[in-house]
Amino acid sequence: MENKIDQTLDCKGLSCPMPMMKLAKAMKGLKSGEILEMIGTDPGTKSDLPRWCEKSGNEMLEEGELEGGIFRFLIKKK
């Protein structure tokens, strides 16, 4: 089943800590059960984001890499 994306956050080109800061802020604005799509290019996000999800209780639905070195994550707000 396709996940319905409620908001997309574009963090392409940004370095640590901006992607995680923007993500945490965007997640604050979502309602429980809503899904955020984040795209970015900082390799650090690949380890920071799953750890943050585990700690904050939000659910990482998908993580993958698109063409051109762009990482994509789908996170469901708890």
């Binding site: 574009d10 392409k12 080109g13 940004l14 370095s15 640590c16 800590p17 901006m18 995680m20 800061m21 923007k22 945490a24 802020k25 997640m27 604050k28 290019t41 900082d42 390799p43 650090g44 690949k46 380890s47 920071d48 750890r51 943050w52 700690k55 904050s56 890499e65 698109l66 063409e67 051109g68 070195g69 762009i70």
Partner: protein, 404 residues
């Protein structure tokens, strides 16, 4: 038609262990701490700002301004070369894990990178050392000034983080806009990165071998620098992260990693100083005072504070900047440029008049074992690390001081 994926062999699995996923920070930090002990045993501990300053002096040497014609050329400067090979080591690590790409950020981020780098340069000149020399090496060197530098840096990080949050709320456009990503290694077509990684690794060993005839210490600085860059890139070792994340997302992993590296280094450095290992012709006292800088306490406090502001705005401490340069993060290229261009200027013109105006007792060498003995000094450092550990773990659980 489904393509059958081949199971990697023994060597393939070994490669995957190092380059498929990021390493835990504590693993990287412990290895970096061990390499730092090795550097000290060979010559003197790890430092980054001195090497970056050497790069800057060589840039000005080319232009003939500021009277830096006699600056040591980078190819003969131990710390200049250590920093060069730290960048190359990170480049190798990024290539072998197919994580290299030229990542060009929005303009506002480039400006922040340059300003952050410039502030780090001023902080490192004032505090005589950076996040490495006056913290990651300075604290294990049992320098009282390094502890003061660390406190100053901590306050700088917390304040600059508040600025970043304010900026994100009030001026979100500053960190958004057009960005570009080139030369990434996605998919099979990105395998060139792995081949290039091996080639650069082999070239590094050839260069180290070339040096080994006339300058054995330099050969080791090249190899250790390369490994330091590779390990920092794989474990994403960063001092800013260690100080900032507890106050941002509440994450403690970066802090705990840095602590693990510090604990290893404390014991290694103390053994070297205690026994005068590697003292050679110099007095044992001089060996003991290695990396104990004349910055206690005012120079260390102010230097640490300015450095903390700079590294948070730049998004990378001295080493965090260098390895991100090797990974292709162009924001940190701006930061390295700001650092190297401002550092010689701050050494020649900005810091000396201020230091001259300070009372003499604001900048002396404080070696903790002189006051507390070796057991007391080591005990004090370990106690401070323990308090820091309890704080970050408690904060991670309760979120008491985290912004998100």
């Amino acid at each position: 038609m489904s393509e059958k994926t081949k199971e990697p062999g023994v060597l393939g699995n070994l490669f995957k262990t190092f380059f498929a996923k990021h390493w835990p920070v504590w693993v990287g930090a412990i290895v970096l701490g061990t390499l730092n002990i090795l550097l000290f045993a060979i010559k003197s501990p790890w430092g980054a700002s001195g090497g970056i300053n050497n790069w800057g002096e060589n840039v000005y040497k080319l232009t003939g301004i500021f009277g830096l014609e006699n600056a040591t050329s980078t190819s003969t400067s131990f710390y200049g070369m250590l920093c060069v090979f730290l960048v190359i080591g990170s480049f190798i690590g990024a290539l072998l894990s197919k994580e290299f790409a030229l990542r060009i950020p929005p303009k506002g981020e480039l400006i922040k990178g340059f300003i952050g780098g410039g502030l780090m340069a001023i902080g490192a000149t004032f505090g005589i050392g950076c996040s490495i020399g006056s913290f990651y090496s300075g604290v294990p060197a049992l320098s009282g000034g390094a502890i003061i530098f660390t406190i100053g840096m901590f306050i700088g990080v917390v304040l600059a983080l508040r600025y970043l949050m304010w900026e994100m709320e009030k001026f979100p456009k500053f960190s958004s806009g057009k960005s570009y990503n080139f030369l990434s290694g996605t998919g099979k077509s990105g395998n060139w990165q792995i081949y290039l990684g091996w080639i650069v690794l082999i070239i590094t060993f050839i260069i180290a071998y070339q040096y080994s005839g006339g300058n054995k210490i330099m050969a080791w600085f090249i190899i250790i620098g390369m490994f330091m860059g590779l390990i920092s890139q794989r474990s994403r070792f960063c001092i800013v992260k260690a100080f900032r994340d507890p106050f941002m997302t509440g994450e403690a992993d970066g802090s705990v990693g840095v602590m693990a590296g510090l604990v290893i280094s404390v014991f290694g450095f103390t053994a070297i100083k205690y026994f005068g290992i590697g003292a050679g012709d110099i007095a044992v006292r001089a060996r003991e005072m290695t990396w104990v800088f004349p910055h206690f306490f005012f120079r260390a406090a102010i230097g640490g504070f300015i450095f903390g502001l700079g590294m948070t705005v730049a998004g990378g401490c001295a080493v965090g900047t260098l390895w991100r340069v090797g990974e292709g993060q162009v924001k940190l290229w701006a930061s390295a440029l700001g650092f190297l261009l401002i550092s010689p200027i701050s050494k020649l013109y900005i810091v000396p008049p201020i230091v001259k105006a300070l009372p003499q007792n604001f900048n002396f060498k404080n070696y903790l074992p002189d006051y507390l003995g070796y057991p007391g000094a080591v005990g004090l450092v370990l106690f401070i690390i323990l308090i820091w550990y309890v704080f970050v773990k408690w904060n991670e659980k309760t979120g008491r001081f985290s912004a998100f």
